[in-house]
Amino acid sequence: MNQATVKRPAGRGGRNLELPEHLKRYKGVWVFIEHDRGHVHQVSWELMGAARQLADTLGAEVAGVLMGGPDEPLETFAQEAFGYGADLCYVTRAPVLAGYRNEPFTRGLTELVNTYQPEIMLLGATTMGRDLAGSVATTLQTGLTADCTELNIDPTSRALAATRPTFGGSLLCTIMTLAYRPQMATVRPRVMPMPKKDATRSGRIIEGTLDLAESEIVTKLLDFIPDASSNKINLAYADIIVSGGKGMKKPENFELIWNLARVLGAEVGATRPVVQAGWVEAERQVGQTGKTVRPKLYIAAGISGAIQHRVGMEGADAIVAINSDPNAPIFDFAHYGIVGNAMTVLPALTEAFRAHLAARSAGGVVAA
């Protein structure tokens, strides 16, 4: 092979960027299927769609990894996985895998990787996925790229080209793991589109075991306190979000955000400074260090549009920005802009939405 013609990624320091012979037999794209109390996290299916495309490019198979306790419906989850594009599922059941804990899951997943040798492994960037991915990658001494927004196969090296925002979202970088396997990546919920389900697809199930006794595990799960449904915040999957920034001036003014959200059945979001000031819960933070959202409508009030916020919400179908500064960066990427004081615009907008929806559902036509 003519080395001079091989286009190499920028690398310094005399690193070995060639894949060693024994790692070349690592094949297939895996998705760790995250589930809890009878439900698969939607991010796992989003990843399944991405894995299918990567595997088709490589001419490889897609496998789902399911780990859980003896009473969990893992076979049902596997059938769902086939519908979303998996060719096979590795199903590992063990009493120690009931309820997520780092130690048994790291051990189980690491053993599975060493036995079946995938070339790519994807996990959701959730509290579970990030906890597990970091531990597994360190144990396997391989590369892990967090919070990817795009996954491709590099045509030259056939390696996973994982693109992610860096510097708070101001730049994007593409990262590859060339000389190590598997190539690991996490992706946040809502970043990848949900694939179409084909209920007629089927696949193989490979049963696994985990030889690990409860007495060997140091950490004990004492309790799980589910979030009360009244304060369950599901920002990532909300269809409509009304968000506020520091331009709302003081925490009491957030009531105006809540009022509009109630009329629209929307979730309430916020910027990092607002969360840091303690005005709203951290789970409401939208942006690079918060949640990625993809609503049909995003209303941003008193938000300047810093890049760190933008990367979390620019995927919205419609963005309405209300800001008193006509030069605020948010007007560069909003679809509709209102230059004005959010404290007076929000109540007017709330009333207008309420009146419009009331009139329309009464069958009337509203004159604008």
């Binding site: 320091g13 967090a146 510097f167 970088c173 909003a334 509709y336 209102i338 615009v345 929806l357």
Partner: protein, 282 residues
Amino acid sequence: MHIVVCIKQVPDSAQIRVHPVTNTIMRQGVPAIVNPYDLFALEEALRLKDRFGGRVTVLCMGPPQAEDSLRKCVSFGADDAILVTDRAFAGADTLATSYALASAIRQIGREQAVDLVFTGKQTVDGDTAQVGPGIAKRLGLQLLTYVSRIVELDMDAKKIVIERRAEGGVQVLRTAVPCLITMLENTNELRFASMPSMINAARVPIRRWNKDDAGIEDIEKIGLKGSPTVVSKVFGPTPRTEKAEMLAVEESSLRDVSLNLIQRLFTRHPGLEQQLLERSDA
């Protein structure tokens, strides 16, 4: 009790701007700060010190300027500060970083045994949340990520009970000390640094460790060489070409602006209106 808190000095990303023409990031004048998430870890460690006595050591890997961040932590009440700094660490990804920090913590433990290691949940520049789990794995410590509350700590029995944020709820876990905790944000409020402690911090010597001081055994595992990930391309985001439709407030009443917006919005997105109407029918 001896607690090590790992911190990172980061650019204040809230102040990073992208040059509108060249689409490159403008770093000039962007101040360096302690990663905000690490301050919740520091405060939690200081609270445990208040209750149980003992020492808090802050540890940072970075360039010589990162000394400022360590000094800041001392002003809040940390007892000792160590900056691991060496050109050999340059270009480290999270795997190589966790190797270097784990070596340094082992070295700190040789001076005085370490009971707890704290980190923030993630940094605001890298955003990976990978270094904490990496350190725990390398040191063979139990890992507790996204901890929202320390419920109970029994130093005689070497047991700790914590609450951690999980998807859809909170897990209550009990484990053995020593362990590594990554602290969730907004779980505590950082104390004020008093004037005497700030003056003290200005005088406290920050210990500088090179790779040998930090006890690095395998130089193949640090810096660029120890990093399996390769950055192949850095580029700016594609700017959006379409501009926002602006509705000016001064030209008309707030009510008219609102109705105008609603009409434009629902004309372009009829599905959205339909969904809202179905909701109000329900």
